[in-house]
């Protein structure tokens, strides 16, 4: 599903090269539920951007399903982001002027999918938002907004869902509810990768990759994570 080999990402900060990701390799198989953890500056956000095809690696290979991401053209990358990857962000990132339903429909519109309305409603139902389609994000609670965002991420039936601190802006209970949705999606076969620094959030997952200074520090079963 995901195969990362010798992946590096180097930024130039002024004239000084910064190795945000330094020669890492790992595999994630279909149906896995993975947490990527690490302190800030460990390279986990960079890794997420690479996995989400928002950024390209400096060296190494990234295989997502049959695609060799480094060899794709910008339009093909856009298509991969649209069809094969679902994004969930810490601050929801919904379009403020569009209703919940329209937000969820958006990837379908860019993907030129027919019956977008019906499919979007199904996705909203799946995350437990069977009403309030017509509401705008500012009329919804934080938990509801994140559900809309999750619905948007899964509406195109992607290969992986990437979540960046999905519970970071939510209180503990609401955050739990959100993680339950990810568990449910994972149980139904979706590959989910969650970037977080909260152990509570990571505890729901089945595998934890711990990053430190641009390399993988530990790659363990989540249950082995010491508290």
């Amino acid at each position: 599903m995901i195969e990362i080999s010798n992946l590096s990402k180097t930024y130039l900060l002024g004239n000084v090269p910064v190795h945000a990701i330094n020669d890492i390799s790992f595999r994630i198989n279909t149906g896995e539920f993975v947490a990527i953890m690490g302190p800030s500056g460990s390279g986990k956000s960079t890794l997420l951007n690479l996995l989400g095809c928002l950024d390209l690696p400096s060296s190494g290979t990234y295989l997502l399903e049959k695609f060799n991401i480094r060899s794709l053209k910008p339009n093909q990358l856009a298509e991969v982001r649209n069809k094969r990857i679902g994004f969930v962000f810490q601050n929801f990132n919904l379009l403020p002027r569009a209703s919940a339903l329209e937000n969820v429909e958006l990837p379908l519109i860019y993907g030129r999918t027919k019956n977008s309305r019906k499919i979007a409603i199904e996705a909203l139902n799946k995350v437990g938002l069977s009403e309030r389609y017509k509401h705008r994000p500012n009329e919804l609670s934080g938990g509801e907004r994140q559900r809309v965002a999750i619905a948007r991420s899964i509406v195109n039936k992607p290969a992986i869902v990437l979540a960046d601190e999905p519970t970071g802006n939510l209180d503990t209970n609401t955050g739990k509810g959100i993680m339950d949705i990810f568990s449910m999606l994972n149980n139904q076969g979706t590959t989910v990768i969650v970037v977080t620094h909260e152990k509570d959030t990571a505890s729901v997952t089945k595998r934890t990759i711990e990053m430190k200074d641009g390399i993988i520090d530990r790659d363990i079963k989540t249950e082995e994570l010491s508290y």
Partner: protein
């Protein structure tokens, strides 16, 4: 499908900022309205001038005494043109349908107790047709009456109104500078032109005018009507040659007459009016340009404001082209709205100008198409740079933007 959605998105964002959209479009509205109204005023002036000149007939060659180049010599004081010149032209120049010699002067008319001051035009029997007049009542004078120096008069409609009121003027005797003339006809109204009223004159045989009224031996102009406009230049040359021979002037010398035709006038007037129209339109186009820059400005602001939105769209799979299209549609939509409202306003302005100012204005389809095409073009042109800027945003930075 996608285009329709992009259109909806663009429309939504414009509606969300109604005031801003309106103010941005206002630049276009004013620009388009001024282009349309200015061109309509210029075009109206041109058409009015042309139709005025056309009333004289365009297939007329006019010969006047005096050199053309010397503007200080008034034709009226030069006495070189004779009636015999006109007769010679009529006899010898081919491809013409009529010649009318003219001598004119203003004179006092009197009928009963009523007085009026008008132009008395002595001319030939063909003048009626050459000058595009039509007989209202009675008849024009004949060749025979010209030859026998008869004291008959054909009166213009303004003169009829001033002297006779509702009475039938035919058969009445009027006094022209104290001499009696028999009214044998009246002409239909031609309509006043801006600088003179062709209906405010009477026509008498040119011989009568010379011998009995003005006491002169020369004439003031000769009108020659050409059958076919294609022969015009050829005929002008023939006239020039014939008159030079008659006046004994060598080809290398300046002649004591000049030959001109109304279509020359028509062209130079038309050209002048066209230049005027272009000038007005050009000035107006500058305001269109300013409107376009306004659109660009607002689009740049809008894109900065919506950096995050753009980041989201890229993250969920929008292609560069689709981002660009969305913003281009937005800017074109603004200029489209501005163009549409501007056309309405422009038509309104030109109507008001013609109603209040009494100017003729012509809103041509071309000027509407021009203004509209121009405004949409400006929307694309000035929207392109901001849209491209949006499409080239780095999604990671854009998503982080607050």
């Amino acid at each position: 499908m996608l285009l329709l959605d992009l259109f909806k998105m663009a429309l939504r964002s414009l509606i969300a900022n109604t005031m801003r959209t309106f103010l941005t479009a206002l630049g276009m509205i004013i620009g388009v309205a001024s282009v349309i109204s200015m061109i309509s005023i210029g075009e109206g002036a041109r058409q009015q001038t042309l139709s005025t000149i056309e009333k004289f007939g365009t297939n007329i060659i006019t010969i006047k005494p005096g050199r053309k180049k010397n503007r200080h010599v008034s034709s009226d004081t030069v006495k070189t043109l004779k009636l015999s010149d006109a007769e010679a032209l009529e006899k010898n120049i081919p491809l013409i349908s009529g010649v009318a010699a003219q001598a004119y002067r203003s004179a006092q008319l009197k009928y009963g107790s009523k007085n009026t001051n008008t132009t008395v035009r002595g001319t030939g029997e063909k003048y009626l047709k050459i000058a595009n007049f039509n007989i209202d009542r009675g008849r024009f004078f004949s060749k025979e009456e010209v030859r026998s120096v008869r004291k008959v008069a054909v009166v213009g409609s303004t003169v009829v109104k001033n002297l006779f009121g509702a009475m039938n003027p035919i058969g009445k005797e009027i006094k022209v500078d104290g001499n009696n003339y028999l009214v044998i006809g009246s002409t239909q109204q031609k309509g006043a032109l801006s600088w003179f009223d062709p209906d405010d004159q009477i026509f008498i045989p040119v011989t009568t005018a010379q011998k009995r009224l003005f006491g002169i031996h020369h004439i003031q102009s000769i009108d020659v009507q050409v059958i076919n406009m294609d022969d015009l230049e050829e005929i002008k040359k023939d006239i020039d040659l014939l008159l030079r021979i008659r006046h004994g002037i060598h080809e290398s010398e300046d002649s004591d007459f000049h030959v001109q035709n109304s279509s020359q006038w028509l062209n130079s007037w038309g050209d002048a009016a066209k230049t005027f129209t272009y000038l007005l339109g050009g000035i107006a186009a500058i305001s269109l340009l300013v409107g376009g820059i306004g659109i660009m400005n607002i689009m740049l602001v809008s894109i900065t404001e919506r950096t995050k939105e753009i980041g989201i769209r890229i993250a969920i799979g929008a292609k560069k082209r689709e981002i660009m299209e969305q913003f281009l549609i937005e800017s074109v939509l603004i200029s489209f709205i501005g163009g549409g409202l501007g056309i309405l306003l422009g038509i309104l302005i030109s109507r008001t100008v013609s109603k209040i100012g009494g100017w003729e204005t012509i809103v041509s389809t071309q000027s509407i198409m021009l203004a509209f095409g121009f405004s949409v073009g400006i929307g694309i042109f000035f929207g392109f740079y901001p849209a491209r800027k949006a499409a080239n945003l780095n999604p990671i930075d854009a998503l982080r933007y607050e």
